[in-house]
């Protein structure tokens, strides 16, 4: 408690104006970080298959619950996280194999893929509510509430860990896409899926890799979200915000998704802090509409050839 008293003291003495702004920026970055991670998951699949995987939120939720129950059952936190990522991968690929791939084979419109995704998300979420109850559960054995003080600014430990892990994950993803052969295959498919297929790239294999990555991203986001807030069946709804972020940044564009996520996190924090949180979503969706009106491709709209 000692440090929190000091903090309260600092808040009340001295020059707040600037430190409050910095505190809000830190909070905004921490909220935006989760959006960015999830937005990358949307962008990746969109870039290859031209549709948004709306079943993304439920993968995130399922992974978080796997971590929760495995840690409660006696696994270490690291083991629980590893299991969560493993299940995230399996579940994501499972959705691709049973839902999306059969539809793509039939050459259905992309719209139906998205509706299928929404259906899966609703079904999984409601099943979880019925089986597990809609209670909110704390992430077990992880205490993250003590802040690290940098002058007047409080930064949550979990925010720092989340930021580092997200950056590392995005870095690995970038290296994978730019420097490896499967990465090249994904970029080729993003450029033109059918041509890539004709050129001898196994598009089905590419799809598996893409959904594996998407599962990893969803699991990491679910774990951090669970640690920062709580684990509950409807936690996947945060992915709606991530979708907005990826549209703002430019659908199918990875850098755009990260930037979109961070812009959205900052915008929401500043609106909540300085105007009113009642208007927060008005500003978020308003920004979305403005971007779509004036820059339909998103902030980082690129030509199709450099989508990734």
């Amino acid at each position: 408690m000692a440090c929190s008293c000091v903090a309260a003291h600092l808040f009340h003495g001295g020059d707040f104006g600037m430190s409050v702004v910095i505190q809000q920026i830190v909070t905004g970055l921490s909220i935006g970080g989760v959006y960015a991670l999830l937005a990358v998951g949307y962008a990746l699949i969109y870039s290859v298959f031209d549709f948004s995987n709306f079943a993304f939120g439920c993968v995130m939720m399922v992974s978080a619950f796997v971590a929760y129950y495995s840690i409660l059952a006696g696994c270490s936190v690291a083991m629980g996280i590893a299991l969560a990522i493993a299940v995230g991968i399996l579940f994501s690929v499972f959705i691709e194999l049973i839902a999306y791939r059969p539809l793509r084979k039939k050459n259905t419109s992309r719209l139906f893929l998205m509706i299928t995704g929404i259906g899966i998300d609703m079904a999984v979420t409601n099943t979880a509510v019925n089986l597990l109850g809609a209670n909110y559960r704390p992430f077990p054995n992880v205490s993250v509430t003590e802040p690290i003080m940098m002058g007047n600014i409080a930064v949550g430990k979990i925010d720092i860990i989340a930021l580092i892990v997200s950056l590392v994950a995005l870095g690995i993803l970038w290296v994978f896409l730019e420097k490896t052969k499967p990465g090249l295959a994904i970029r080729a498919s993003a450029y033109d899926t059918s041509t890539a297929g004709i050129m001898g790239i196994n598009v089905n294999q590419v799809s598996i890799i893409v959904f594996v990555i998407s599962g990893v991203v969803a699991a990491i986001a679910g774990i951090f979200f669970g640690m920062k807030y709580a684990i509950y069946p409807s936690m996947g709804t945060v992915s709606t915000k991530a979708f907005i972020a990826s549209v703002i940044g430019g659908l199918g564009n990875l850098e755009g998704a990260v930037i979109g996520g961070i812009i959205l996190g900052l915008l929401e924090t500043f609106v909540s802090g300085y105007i009113s949180s009642t208007y927060r979503d008005l500003f978020s969706y308003g920004l979305l509409i403005l971007v779509l009106l004036f820059m339909p491709g998103g902030l980082l709209a690129k030509s199709k050839s450099d989508k990734l």
């Binding site: 903090a7 808040f11 409050v20 909070t27 509430t145 709580a230 924090t269 009642t278």
Partner: protein, 397 residues
């Protein structure tokens, strides 16, 4: 031929319906009169994230009615509870449940729902059906008295109202805790929250305190650090968090800790859920809240033991206690009236004066249909438990 058949059918239907009327006693009374069994409705959250509100109440009512029937029921008639769940789509399902209870099940009284929003939905339905509804914990004044001051005759309430607890909390904060500058963090689209905030503001500023800032939020939010940073800047010494969502309370408490904020957190009866302590017990250490009962009150000890023995893994809560109060009030009213008729029950309920019910002796104010001078429990969260700090009973005006 067809016409004759139709006429015959119609005549048969009329005879049957006359017979049906004749078989009931007190059929000349308006509203619903019980047949062979006295049916009582229950409307509440039995599923979903708010199932803790209604599940314990339903079990407690079923246990009570079982015992009652073993002793011969009310006026020699067996009592039957008909419970409907409103967990998935509360407002719509409350309307459906009330219509069904009145038109199809023919109940003489309805217990519940737990929250103001759903109670408001029920008002026109029970008024038209002439069936009294005894709400357990819906605390907004508008449930029993409409905005223009007219009494909702068929609505009764077992708990105290929001102004009552907002006023009590403001007095407690100022006099007992020495707080002078409170910030609000509340869901302004929720009438429960708004009601408490308004009454707290009125009372707190009247006795000399001030309101530092009023920050908004939405119950579906998960991050409140932006508002908390603004509150920290405002120089407040306390935060009133008037919400009915324990999730919000736990997130706010954790994020206050993350931001290093050490302000007194003031809460209301809507906080009261054991899940809250699992989520953020240590972070809430030292917070205060008003509540309708104190679970650690020795008068409940025997009952809690009996209940837990019968339903392993569950403990009764305030919603169960107030449902029992409602049931006992209805039982008292039927006995007083000498007939299980819905309008008679409605008329008798407002004559309750010092009638012993489960939690207390109950007096109903005839002009508001609220309980008179209910005790407010001030609870402090210590060692991750709800502990009674003080009981606050208002004096007669």
């Amino acid at each position: 031929m067809k016409r004759k058949l139709l006429a015959l059918l119609l005549a048969a239907a009329m005879v049957l319906s006359l017979a049906a009327c004749g078989s009931k006693e007190g059929s000349d009374l308006p509203g619903i009169t019980a047949g062979k069994t006295i049916k009582i409705g229950f409307v509440g959250f039995l599923s979903g994230q708010d199932a803790y509100l209604g599940q314990g109440a339903k079990m407690a009512l079923e246990d009570y009615i079982e015992e009652l029937n073993a002793k011969g029921g009310i006026l020699g008639k067996k009592v039957e509870l008909i419970a409907y769940d409103i967990g998935m789509d509360p407002n719509t399902e409350t309307a459906n449940a009330c219509n069904r209870l009145i038109q199809q099940d023919k109940v003489v009284a309805i217990i519940g729902p737990e929250s103001t929003e759903q109670a408001m939905v029920a008002i026109p339905i029970v008024t038209e059906g002439k069936v009294p509804m005894v709400v357990t914990t819906a605390s907004n004044p508008l449930v029993t008295v409409a905005e223009d001051g007219t009494l909702n005759k068929y609505m009764y309430r077992m708990c105290f109202t929001d102004p009552y607890q907002g006023t009590a909390l403001a007095n407690f904060a100022y006099n007992d805790l020495g707080l002078r500058n409170t910030a609000f963090l509340g869901d302004v689209t929720n009438i429960y929250c708004e009601g408490i905030q308004n009454c707290y503001r009125d009372e707190f500023t009247k006795i000399g305190g001030s309101i530092a800032t009023e920050e908004g939020m939405m119950a579906s939010d998960v991050d409140f650090r932006a508002q908390l940073t603004t509150i920290a800047e405002s120089g407040a010494d306390s935060i009133l968090l008037a919400t009915g969502s324990y999730k919000v309370v736990s997130f706010v408490a954790k994020q206050m800790r993350q931001l290093g904020l050490d302000l007194t957190l003031l809460g209301v009866d809507g906080w009261y859920a054991n899940e809250l302590l699992d989520l953020a017990g240590p972070e809430l250490e030292g917070s205060f809240m008003t509540n309708m009962v104190s679970d650690d009150d020795p008068i409940f000890a025997d009952y809690i033991e009996k209940f837990t023995a019968k339903h392993p893994g569950t403990t009764p809560n305030v919603y169960a206690y107030y449902a029992l109060d409602a049931m006992m009030s209805i039982e008292w009213a039927i006995n007083q009236a000498g007939v299980a008729n819905s309008t008679e029950i409605m008329n008798k309920l407002e004559t309750m004066k010092d009638v012993p019910v489960f939690t207390d002796k109950l007096t109903i104010e005839p002009d508001t249909h609220n309980p008179h001078n209910k005790t407010v429990s001030i609870i402090q969260i210590t060692d991750s438990q709800f502990k009674t700090y003080k009981l606050y009973t208002p004096e007669d005006k």
